[in-house]
Symmetry: C2
Subunit: 249 residues, 2 copies
Amino acid sequence: MALDPKQRRAARHAQPDTDSAAAAGRPAARKAPITVERITDAALHVVATEGYDALTIRSVANVLGTGPSSLYAHIVNKADIDDLLIGRLCVQITLPEPDPDRWREQIRDVCAQIRDRYLQYPGISRAALAMVPTNLDTLRVNEGIFAILLAGGIEPQTAAWAIDALFLYVAGYALEASMVRQRRKDRDANWVLNQEELVRRFRALPEDAFPQTRRYAAELTSGSGHERFDFALGLLIDNLGGQAEAAGG
Amino acid sequence: MALDPKQRRAARHAQPDTDSAAAAGRPAARKAPITVERITDAALHVVATEGYDALTIRSVANVLGTGPSSLYAHIVNKADIDDLLIGRLCVQITLPEPDPDRWREQIRDVCAQIRDRYLQYPGISRAALAMVPTNLDTLRVNEGIFAILLAGGIEPQTAAWAIDALFLYVAGYALEASMVRQRRKDRDANWVLNQEELVRRFRALPEDAFPQTRRYAAELTSGSGHERFDFALGLLIDNLGGQAEAAGG
DNA sequence: AGGTTGACACGAACTAAGTTCGCCTCGTAG
DNA sequence: CTACGAGGCGAACTTAGTTCGTGTCAACCT
């Protein structure tokens, strides 16, 4: 059962209904075993310290003190490592018991958790955006948010689509934020800018073509901390329940 | 002036205020010249026909009938090609004259334009998400949306942040949609699923851990056409102007 | 107990891709 | 006509994903 890494990957995803009551005997480790867990740990370490761009099969193997080929007994390919990483991140998300009176707050909390996990591992949200929607760990988070929305009286169809929009936004936000941070330490990045420089450039744009951008350069570049994040989440969340909640309360 | 590709790239981005009234004499083509425009055309052709993953320096050079090194007299690096592509896409966006009475409609129209451009070039929104915010062509679209929002009576700070959220969502949506389409023709993709298969797998999840996902599998996977897109844009847009518009009407 | 087996580890190598180097070509200027 | 230099291009360097074949060791079988 533990032979084919493709089977291992499949086990992490929602499967068709073919019931399989197979045995699950894990014959304990052999010597200094490379496991999927150790690979995930090593990969997370690489991403946390050097960023997602530095995540290569070789870098992970190096952390484990071996060569790249050694990993292929446990993973299918590099995308599989992404899958493992996102899975691990999702496992760490705490899902509250749905409270109909605090559902907006609960949604915000879970989204903030996801955001902070993403930011802790810079660039990893790229992998999240490319993730296949059957990963069991991501489905668990999906289920948790879904339950909160439903408890809040949101229509199932509305809730389902809202989850999609929320995840997309959170991942996009984290990706953008990660890249801004990342670019600060890159070599070619001297032509990329911090906020003051950005404002200066916006103000230097031609007046006829960019009047608003010039005038409101400060507003366009503002948003320290997670103000932008909170604002966007507000847009998405506060508008939910317009139908259902208007009737209920 | 046309020597260094870094200068060419810089010319496409917002610059600091050092006034430069330099000459702009282009000395006409020499023989069968490789130009930035031809590179952009070739790259767009590759993305449109084979997808963003197939966009390599070599594939672009191949379309132009030359080798990879020939491009480096015109581009800085591969990210520079992304920059060119997004710029070209943005140039094609039609920005309406802001109409205070139809601002929501206008925003939806521009976002739909961007979405369709992205989808026309599958996966290209990855590049859009990684784009540096000083590209002049993207700033033009930014300015256009900004003007519409301001005409609609939205507070400048609110409008600025709303643009951010809108772009992030549109790019994320297009990326997800592109990948779904892309995976249909990949080899390893037989383990990735279409909607019916996805519903079946959701329904096969354990009842205790995934009750809502099981119950509303249809809702979670629904959304043909751009229903999800329209829904999410509605969430973002309809909630705007709550302050300003409530007073004005 | 000793051989057998097979899962796992791993060095080496293959391929693809981004990038650089140095030489060549060819049009223009003097 | 020659010199210059921008631009084109082949070749090669580097990094990275992936595969192949072989080695190794623990458990099992006889």
